[in-house]
């Protein structure tokens, strides 16, 4: 299977956007998961609901919300523009933001499940051994929740690779900049008789995520291994 330049570009973009989205969302997702797993506070159910929002709302609505927030006249967009000279509109960075937002609920849930399964008594043991709260997170909590972190990263990456509605609504379909695999597939789907091209692109998507799957399995297995001080 040889790829056209346009197909290559879509694959490379999907990979780049998926990786950036997952890596940037991971700390946020961990912080939220930790907040939800470990703390009780007024309005917790609201935070929880907010985290699920991107799952519940149709992607197009999410894309529209992002557009409203990040367009030059939007509150966040104006701020980004004024302070950092950054604009997400029509840029691959905007696509990464869309993908990250869509991946967030999946990542938070997976990490939260693992965090809730961590035996708090082991953290207490670490504290009595002299580890500060932070040190305990780094050396005990995070390694023990590695299965959830890996699963979350995997789900998030897969979701990013499949993300369509929010992306096209937020940053449009610009070849080489925001035309990821799903957007390329969409374009092909609009034309009768392009089923062959659609199939090729779909197979590329699947291959990308099989790669991610293997990486996450490897990560989980390594985490269970002998010398797993992750940091």
């Amino acid at each position: 299977m040889t790829l056209t330049a346009a197909e290559w570009s879509a694959v490379a973009l999907s990979l780049k956007i998926g990786l950036v989205a997952v890596l940037c969302t991971l700390p946020i997702a961990f912080a939220l998961a930790w907040l939800l797993a470990r703390h009780r506070f007024p309005g917790k159910i609201l935070v929880d609901a907010l985290v699920h929002l991107p799952l519940v709302l149709p992607p197009v609505v999410l894309g529209w919300l992002l557009l409203v927030l990040f367009s030059r006249s939007g509150p966040l967009g104006a701020w980004l523009e004024d302070w950092f000279g950054i604009s997400l509109m029509f840029r691959w960075t905007g696509a990464a933001v869309a993908a990250g937002v869509m991946a967030l609920p999946l990542m938070v849930r997976a990490i939260r499940l693992s965090l809730e399964a961590v035996d708090r008594r082991l953290e207490q043991a670490a504290r009595t051994c002299g580890a500060t709260r932070w040190r305990t997170y780094l050396t005990i909590t995070i390694p023990l929740s590695l299965p959830g972190i890996a699963a979350g990263a995997m789900l998030g990456f897969a979701r990013s690779v499949g993300e369509f509605g929010a992306t096209i609504t937020f940053v449009s379909n610009i070849p080489g900049e925001t035309r990821t695999l799903p957007l390329a597939i969409y374009a092909e789907l609009q034309v009768p008789g392009a089923e062959g091209a659609v199939t090729r692109l779909a197979i590329l998507s699947v291959l990308l995520s099989v790669g991610a799957l293997l990486a996450s399995e490897w990560l989980t297995r390594r985490g269970r291994g002998k010398d797993a001080h992750v940091l």
Partner: protein, 209 residues
């Protein structure tokens, strides 16, 4: 004065309370099952907050409800052998043993890793994960980890459980050495009167009121 413990704590419907001052290096804490021995050790270690009271170890106030003192566990410098081991499941035996040592700012290296490992017969197990250890092996790692955390005092909750006669004897001799040589204050929970008799004359007996 090694330990001054005056605490109260409600746990579910049950109330745990203790009030004792111990002079000697080793203090045995005995009493029927469920009376609150482990809870008291947890309070001294700082992982269970008393409702009221005061805890002073070797002249250092770790907790004082009235004075608003409540040191976090990592600043109390306990060497705690938990009743239920609590080995870190993702770290091999060696990293479990060295976990505390790595963290302590070389306060004093009186107790050597090599020595402890030899004493506890753990060399062949250093690369093993805790889930592949026998009960007694895990117990020994828990003891080693506590001793190597460069503790200012020791909390031993039935430390000799699951150890065979020879190891028991070895461990008792080690405790005696720590007692005599390093003069670390030790709070020692045991159900074995013979063990207690051998190690100390200072016994705090908890009982139901």
């Amino acid at each position: 004065m090694s330990f001054e413990v005056r605490v109260e704590k409600r746990l579910g419907g049950h109330a745990v309370a203790a009030d004792f001052t111990a002079e000697g290096p080793v203090t045995a804490l005995v009493g029927p099952s469920g009376i609150g021995k482990t809870s008291i050790l947890n309070m001294v270690a700082g992982i269970l907050g008393p409702d009221a009271g005061r805890i002073v170890v070797a002249g250092r106030a770790l907790f004082d409800a009235d004075a608003g003192i409540d040191l976090p566990p990592e600043q109390r410098h306990a060497g705690y052998v938990f009743q239920d081991d609590r080995l870190f499941p993702h770290l091999n035996v060696e990293n479990n043993l060295l976990y505390g040592q790595k963290l302590a700012r070389a306060r004093d290296a009186r107790i050597e890793a090599g020595e402890v490992i030899a004493l506890l017969g753990l060399e062949p197990l250093l690369r093993r994960l805790p889930r592949n250890l026998s009960g007694g092996e895990a117990r020994r790692v828990a003891i080693g980890r506590a001793m190597l955390a460069r503790p200012a005092f020791l909390l031993l909750d039935e430390p000799l459980t699951s150890l065979d006669e020879a190891l028991r004897e070895e461990m008792l001799r080690t405790v005696e050495r720590v007692r005599d040589q390093f003069r670390l204050p030790i709070l020692y929970v045991s159900h074995n009167p013979e063990e207690v008799r051998r190690i100390t004359a200072e016994v705090v007996r908890l009982s139901r009121r």
